[in-house]
Amino acid sequence: MQPETAIILLLRFLAIILFSILFGFFLSWVERKLTARMQGRIGPPYYQPLADFLKLILAKEDLTPSSSSVSLFTIAPIASLVTVALAMLFIPLNSVAPTLSFTGDVVLVFFLLTASTFMTMLGGSASSSPFGAVGASRLMTQTFAFELPLFISLTSVAIQSGSLSLFRIVDYQLANGALFWTLLPATVAAVLCIPGKLSLAPFNIPNAQTEIVEGSLTEYSGAKLGLFYLANAIEWFVVTSLIADLFFFISVGNWFAGVLLHLTICLVLAIVVTTIKASTARLRIDQALRFYWVGVNILALLGLALPFVWRSIG
């Protein structure tokens, strides 16, 4: 590889990650502000997630519990941030090609998202706090719960488009129209998995404040907590972008308009998820498991059958 191309690639990495951080902050602000408005409050100002992050990184003391496993406790937030930022590099923004792409990258993106959650679990387990351990075990159960329907709806997309590459899936939708209508049950199933992935009500079971303090993050403070905060913000953008790419691709001529459209779809998904969050109460872990494995799974399986139905009809 030429040194110039390497530098350009590196610059693209940095630009896309910086942008995803800023837009992730915007999405998490939308979530907080909208929840506040629905509860009849004023809500935080637009710079709130940025102020929270800067405070944690720059101003606060970083404490590590003496009984924790120090190396794991330190590595977990960094690894969580790196994996989720890496996932961002594979995601096309409407018709703009992703920085990295190869056949089968959808599987890698899903793996990286799970790895990020896994790192949070690891951090909770390493913190030596019982709340951290309980939070980690709940997070694991919840990951099992929502990943099954999420993967099944991904499979239906892969079968319909005949590809496991995100950019190819987008290409397919460019030629044949968005998969939203063709695979409606799978779309609904995938959207219902977003609150589970982001641990939002009614699936905020892993960080239920009134039961297990802050879950896996109980013992974290200062810069390490800030890294988890950042990873969560990027996760917002990655998860909504992924759903937007898989199901809601709408072609517009100009690339800039395409990116704007993509961001709007992410925003709409965030608003839908927030509406669910603000209007529901927390479920128990067994109820969440049943919801995903029975209710959402039936939708996803229905979606899985659809590509074959369309094919037999012709």
Partner: protein, 146 residues
């Protein structure tokens, strides 16, 4: 420059941890009232946190009892610097009706340093909110001085 930014961020994002050190529950109800949608401290960036490790502002109600005294100091140490302590209610300041009791160590500032005191039995939510806002400025000052 860096210090200015971090002091600003600290003032704009004070996370609260609530601790009852032996209060009669009246002040707790008023603190909760100050955190409800009617007063909405989240517009100042406040979040109620369940872990002291995440907190910047420690909101305390009640006199310090013998039972809680040591644990109280431990919770205070678990809050990462810079931090401020807001003592809510007359008992925090003077022991109030508990003065002379056999099971009381003393007012809050005998055990840990206190930054803001909100008198009243119990104080109104408006007064608590006023105390919180003052504590945010103290938080910012602490950062810019350090």
């Amino acid at each position: 420059m860096m210090k200015k930014v971090s002091a600003w961020a600290l003032k704009k994002s004070p996370w609260i941890y609530r601790l009852n050190s032996g209060a009669c529950n009246a002040c707790d109800i008023e603190v909760i009232a100050a955190l409800t949608p009617r007063f909405d401290p989240e517009r100042f960036g406040c979040l109620l946190k369940a872990s002291p490790r995440h907190a910047d502002v420690l909101v305390i109600t009640g006199p310090v009892t013998m039972q809680i005294s040591d644990r109280f100091k431990r919770v205070y140490d678990q809050v990462p610097d810079p931090k401020v302590v807001v003592a809510v209610g007359s008992c925090c300041l003077t022991q109030g009706v508990y003065e002379g009791s056999y099971s009381i160590v003393g007012p809050v500032d005998k055990v840990i340093p206190t930054d803001v005191m909100v008198p009243g039995c119990p104080p109104r939510p408006q007064a608590i909110l006023d105390g919180l806002l003052r504590s945010f400025s103290i938080l910012q000052e602490k950062r810019s001085r350090s």
